[in-house]
């Protein structure tokens, strides 16, 4: 796939009012090979949280160890390392063992849900996800600062 055109640095999220100060914000790592999904997640969450992204499971594990996020949103079907394997790796690392992981995937079959929980994920959201429902799940695990 050709490299994407040089876009302005940082997420081009739509204006949503003043976000909470960076110092008070919890960090979320979003891992997905779809730029579109990352854009949606960043736009929905960046007002209340600091959002960092990764494009595959391998990059996701490396970023989780480096950034120590408070929560991870993990896709399942990704190149180089799928979401289940990425979560298993995270659970084996002392630095990332206890970070809650919400799987975000098109796969809703019971077998996949079971595999997800067995690999160590904390919760499960199917795509296409409902924005308010995803926000509610994230907020239930990471209450945002009071003014966000």
């Amino acid at each position: 796939m050709a490299e994407r055109a040089e876009a302005p640095k940082g997420p081009a999220a739509p204006p949503q009012g003043d976000p909470a100060p960076a110092a008070g914000r919890r960090k979320i790592l979003a891992v997905d090979d779809s730029e579109t999904v990352l854009l949606v997640e960043r736009s929905l969450l960046s007002r209340s949280y600091l959002v960092v992204t990764a494009k595959n499971g391998e990059e996701g594990v490396a970023k989780a160890i480096a950034e120590r996020p408070d929560l991870i949103l993990m896709d399942v079907m990704m190149p180089r390392m799928n979401g289940f394997d990425a979560v298993r790796r995270l659970r084996s690392e002392p630095a990332t063992r206890n970070i809650p992981v919400i799987m975000v995937t098109t796969r809703s079959e019971a077998q996949n849900v079971q595999t997800g929980y067995e690999s160590g994920c904390t919760d499960y959201v199917t795509k296409p996800f409902d924005g308010p429902a995803l926000l509610a799940k994230v907020k239930s695990r990471l209450p945002p600062p009071r003014d966000a």
Binding site: A5, E35, V40, T106, T126, K127, P132
Partner: protein
């Protein structure tokens, strides 16, 4: 804004309720004093009744308990009773007023919660549409633009079976340009005007299957077929087959996403191809 107005109204009502509460408290204290004075009077009268004879009047400097010395034995109890009744009645009226106000506030609160949920959903839908547009027009080249369309259909609409067709130079056939989740049988050229896909390309009118009617399409299982347009000119088509298992029907947002693809996908493919062909030009 809605939340600010609702909060301001709630604060005013709370302040008003607190003032009423304080008024009721003052009335209550007066009634308690009165009851205490009446009780003392009763005990005094009972003692003298037992001893026989009439009780002496209260000494001039004796504690008044709200009763003037010249009125001892003469001030009628009914006056104080009627004062107590009036105070009680006023208290009851104020209590009813506060209850009505609280019921109004509760209704306002429920309405505000519904409005907030609707606005939250609308905001989420706008975010999704923005992300789709950003992804389309941010594509680095034609292949990336086709991948963007696939991402939108798979992740935002909810189907993992799709085909993108481009119109041939002579305008008579639709040629498969990109597909995901489909077998070779579904990736054939389509004559413009033939079958559901061909008709969409000929008419420029999108097709969306009504619930349960996908079997009647040609080819079968078509959930939607959208013309790809540059302005009013049809340059191709997007065919969406089936839906994810947990997705039962297309929603309003899905139709908006498909409308966005109809209007902008072809232009995005064109601009990204130009950008790819001239990499030294500023974006």
């Amino acid at each position: 804004m809605i939340e600010t107005d609702g909060l301001a109204t709630a604060e005013k009502v709370l302040s008003s309720a607190q003032q009423h509460g304080q008024g009721l408290r003052a009335v209550n204290e007066k009634l308690a004093d009165l009851v205490s004075a009446l009780r003392d009077q009763k005990e005094r009268l009972a003692r003298y009744a037992q001893a026989g004879g009439t009780p002496p009047p209260l000494a001039p400097d004796a504690p008044r308990d709200g009763i003037a010395p010249s009125e001892v034995g003469e001030r009628p109890a009914p006056a104080e009773m009627s004062f107590a009744r009036a105070a009680l009645e006023q208290g009851r009226r104020e209590h009813d007023t506060i209850r009505e106000r609280l019921a109004e506030i509760q209704k306002d609160n429920e309405r505000l919660c519904e409005e907030y949920a609707a606005i939250q959903q609308q905001n989420s839908d706008l975010v999704t549409l923005f992300a789709a547009m950003e992804r389309l027009y941010g594509a680095a080249g034609r292949d990336d633009a086709l991948a963007a369309i696939q991402e939108i259909v798979v992740n935002l609409v909810g189907s993992e079976e799709l085909a993108i067709f481009e119109l041939s130079k002579d305008g008579r056939r639709l040629l498969p340009a990109h597909a995901f989740g489909l077998g070779p049988a579904e990736l054939r050229d389509v004559a413009v005007g033939c079958g559901t896909i061909g008709r969409v390309a000929a008419d420029g009118v999108p097709f969306v299957a009504a619930d349960g009617a996908r079997a009647a399409t040609d080819p079968p299982r078509l959930t939607a077929c959208i013309p790809l347009k540059l302005g009013e000119r049809v340059t191709g088509a997007l065919a969406v087959y089936g839906l994810l298992d947990h997705k039962h029907a297309l929603r309003g947002l899905d139709r908006e996403l498909l409308a966005l693809i109809e209007k902008h996908a072809a232009a995005a493919m064109r601009t990204s191809a130009l950008r790819e062909a001239a990499p030294d030009r500023p974006a």
